[in-house]
Point group: C2
Chain length 219, copies 2
């Protein structure tokens, strides 16, 4: 059994919403002996969509990560948010590997060796993305009218993120990094790949692959 803990930063009482990232990741990774335990921090029903929310989220992520290590006996923790809230701090106190969706998916995008365009929902570039990509990051775009991860879920949201992806392609992007795990929730990557004709890095699935590797080891 290979078990990872997944921390959602979108607070919800809805069991299906809570487990959506975990289910997507289990389906993607495959083996029946791979299991994702999902828990969410409290008090952020719109997710961590601005610096104030992110700051408030940090200690909650750290507490929850420690709790999951103890209670759920997970072999790695994945923080399912591209801002990597609490990731450095949790690493200080956890004894299992801690993977941040931001730094890990940016690392996967970097490995593809093409100029990276990032599609986010914040009007500033998230530090884990710029730190990993440096000059390989050629653009950062946000879909028009999108403020929180919830706005990605409408039909209108969908057309708008395709348009933002097209702007990144015009800026020379050879690969698109989705810089919010809300895009994973709505499975934006396949649609964008089809519409843009470029590889698209999904932050949940790509970071999840690395968390899986960290948990499973080389066996």
């Amino acid at each position: 059994m290979c078990k990872i803990g997944l921390i959602r930063v979108l607070s919800t009482d809805d069991e299906e919403a809570l487990h959506r990232h975990g289910r997507l990741l289990e389906r993607f990774i495959g083996p029946a002996d791979f299991q994702v335990i999902s828990r969410c921090i409290q008090g952020h029903p719109q997710g961590l969509w601005n610096p104030r929310e992110i700051r408030k989220g940090v200690p909650k992520v750290v507490r929850l990560g420690q709790e999951m290590e103890r209670r759920d006996a997970v072999a790695a923790v994945l923080v399912s948010c591209v801002a990597d809230p609490g990731v450095p701090q949790l690493r200080e106190v956890a004894s299992v590997p801690v993977i941040g969706a931001g730094s890990a998916s940016a690392a996967v995008a970097l490995s593809l060796g093409q100029p990276v365009g990032a599609l986010g929902i914040t009007d500033w570039v998230l530090p884990p993305v710029s730190e990993v990509l440096g000059s390989r990051l050629v653009g950062w775009e946000i879909p028009e009218g999108v403020k929180t991860t919830l706005d990605l879920m409408s039909e209108q949201g969908r057309e708008r993120f395709v348009k933002a992806g097209e702007r990144l392609k015009e800026q020379g992007a050879g690969v698109i990094l989705l810089a919010c795990t809300g895009f994973s929730t709505v499975e934006a990557a396949p649609l964008l790949e089809e519409r843009l004709g470029l590889p698209v890095v999904d932050p949940l699935l790509s970071a999840g692959l690395i968390a899986y590797y960290a948990a499973r080891g080389n066996g």
Copy 2:
């Protein structure tokens, strides 16, 4: 069917040796519909173990990569050498993603968020590793008496790379990156994890995960 092309830079006529990395990767990734096609460049029976050999290998990797894209219809190419020989050049001419074991495994090591110690066989730091890791790279060690990838295969080689790993741990490494795919051939990672009590990033398996992702996409 998800098919990737794997380029060996150790020239060999021995079918088992040629396919060893591919078989290890297929076993690691799992699904029956994942296939690795392996081919090697010619004229390097000891691998690319010094700058002159690496320089001579570059055009051969590019030619072979193009040939595999055309002939084998692979969805991604993995260059199974931590020096990433020919990787930037092949990317210029290939239309499928090209993954270098060096830059990709360094990216995976970076994602684990701990100071990285690299275990190589060259007495200089390989550029793909230093470029991705920057100041996160806290040490580079080589096993005593090892010059080429072939030297790793003996019992004596084994004890010596464990010793080199211990030196990296003393230097503050929280994760070990194996900076030669010769370590993958001899399955050094599990032994080192056990002896050092640290996570070890295998360059073939970790870069192979990313090549698998690049070939398969998010479906």
